[in-house]
């Protein structure tokens, strides 16, 4: 009995010795939802949403005036695209809106940067100017649209003004935040090198603050679109905003959808230009990325 038990132990021991020599490899696996490649995920989501859209319209759950079918919308997108490519009246409207957006953005960047430096660099700006800026920023800025129209008329300038007005504040705040982002050591370094205030601003604070500044530009690029279109809604004129309003009043819902889609291309183009500029200018900081897009 005792010898037998001894035997078994020895066998068990030798088995253990064998397994001691083997690699203990195991595979770490992400959950399925994290393993889907980007293009599959994006395409899948697109097909899912359009499918749902198709189902809802094909079954007649909602009226075509509220939600046109995907096919109808697609046909109108092609129609508008054709009009744009052949230089129709919509191209003119798109050019008007694009100019409004670009002028508004340029003014917002210039004003926002200047005020941001004033607020971030001087105690006067921080103590006296900033409270007023915060007060104005908390107001619903769209409510100023009638004022701009009264002051600047129904032309493009009142829309540019509203677009710039909405987009300026994020640039102010982000520029000032960027100037505050300088560390104590960096300030002491420049001080110990005998740098002037201007040198410290240009050689240290502005470059350190660039990533913040660009965050403000991204928010501004979205805001300037909203401002331009709102201005065109309220002030009429020639832009895409006016076209959308007219189409909506004619219950031409597919047209509204396709105009919005072309507008989103304009917004995306502006946003991606900012992102591209950021990656070119701030080559040393690659951490500010979300989903590989921004």
């Amino acid at each position: 009995m005792s010898t037998q038990s001894k035997m078994t132990t020895r066998v068990a021991a030798s088995k253990m010795m064998e397994s001691d020599d083997q690699d203990t490899v195991w595979i770490e696996q992400d959950p399925l939802i994290d393993r889907i490649p980007r293009w599959v995920a994006m395409l899948g989501l697109f097909v899912g949403i359009v499918g749902l859209w198709y189902g809802v319209t094909a079954l007649g759950i909602v009226s075509p005036i509220v939600l046109p079918s995907p096919a109808e919308t697609w046909a109108d997108i092609l129609f508008v695209g054709n009009n744009l490519l052949t230089g129709g009246h919509m191209l003119e409207a798109l050019i008007t809106t694009t100019l409004t957006v670009l002028y508004g953005f340029a003014i917002a960047v210039f004003l926002g940067f200047s005020l941001g430096v004033l607020v971030g660099e001087t105690k006067f700006g921080e103590r006296a100017v900033m409270p007023y800026l915060v007060a104005i920023d908390t107001m619903p800025k769209v409510a100023f649209a009638p004022l701009f129209i009264a002051w600047l008329g129904f032309g493009i300038s009142s829309k540019v003004a509203l677009a710039a007005f909405i987009a300026t504040f994020p640039v102010v705040v982000s520029t000032a935040a960027g100037l505050y982002a300088v560390s104590e050591n960096e300030r002491f370094l420049f001080k110990s090198m005998g740098a002037t205030r201007m040198q410290t601003l240009i050689r240290l604070k502005l470059p350190i603050g660039l990533p913040y500044f660009f965050t403000g530009l991204k928010i501004a690029s979205v805001g300037v679109m909203a401002g331009a279109i709102t201005g065109e809604f309220l002030g009429g004129g020639q832009g895409f905003g006016a076209l959308i309003r007219v189409s909506a009043s004619q219950l031409n819902t597919p047209r509204v959808f396709s105009l919005i889609i072309y507008l989103s291309f304009l917004g995306l183009a502006l946003y991606l230009t900012v992102v591209w500029l950021q990656s070119k200018l701030i080559f040393w900081n690659k951490t500010d990325k979300v989903g590989g897009i921004a």
């Binding site: 560390s183 370094l189 001080k191």
Partner: protein, 275 residues
Amino acid sequence: MERAVTEQSLHDAANAKPAAERPVFEISRLTKTYHRNAFTALSNVNLTLEKGEFASVIGSSGCGKSTLLKIMAGLMPPTSGRVVLDGRPVMGPREDIGMMFQQATLLPWKTALENIILPIEIREGKAAARKYRTQAQALLDLVGLSRAADVYPSELSGGMAQRVSICRMLISDPSVLLLDEPFSALDELTRDFMNMELQRICMERHATAFLVTHSIPEAVILSDKIYVMQSNPGHVAEVVDIDLPRPRKLDMINTNKFGSIVAHIRGLLEQEGQI
């Protein structure tokens, strides 16, 4: 004062220089009071640094050692007392003061070499800075980073970045090096290595250095003399002379003499804790 005189003669014997040479740094009756909260950070601090001397100041946080360093660097005015470097009073930042911080503080958009010549660029402009490129490369050779000239700081390890900041400090050939816990953010092995490098560089250039630290062994292994500070208000409790032979080696840490010096300083610092 007497001790300073003996040290002076020791240095003169070693360097065979005339006996009348003045100390590089002289601080007397230095007091700093913050008016905002009537807090006295430094009270009656006296300190001299001879040419080629390595001194440290050690103390718990809040003992005023950082304030002392900022006043020495001309980054902060004293409330009363005299601060004189090379016979001229320190009344603001000066070209002949080299500084090093806890973080390397390199500008990420400039290469290692461009970072090193930054002090020249700030003071004399880009054209003047360009003339210092060969000198900057020589400094990189000195700290063992010969091939890092065109590398951006993000590609450097913590120790390498601090070596670049040593070069930036040395480029304007300062009379005194002020070191504010320069290696405390590094891991211990790198830190020991960097301390030995610092000793080598200081000995090679016969540099006068002043180190702020809160590590007793670091202060002992590097210094000729240690100012032990206590707080409330910040003052120098004792000046400890370290007569271990140069060059210092890391294994000196295991000797009895080293141990007893460390124990003595620890005693001074703990004595304060009981108050």
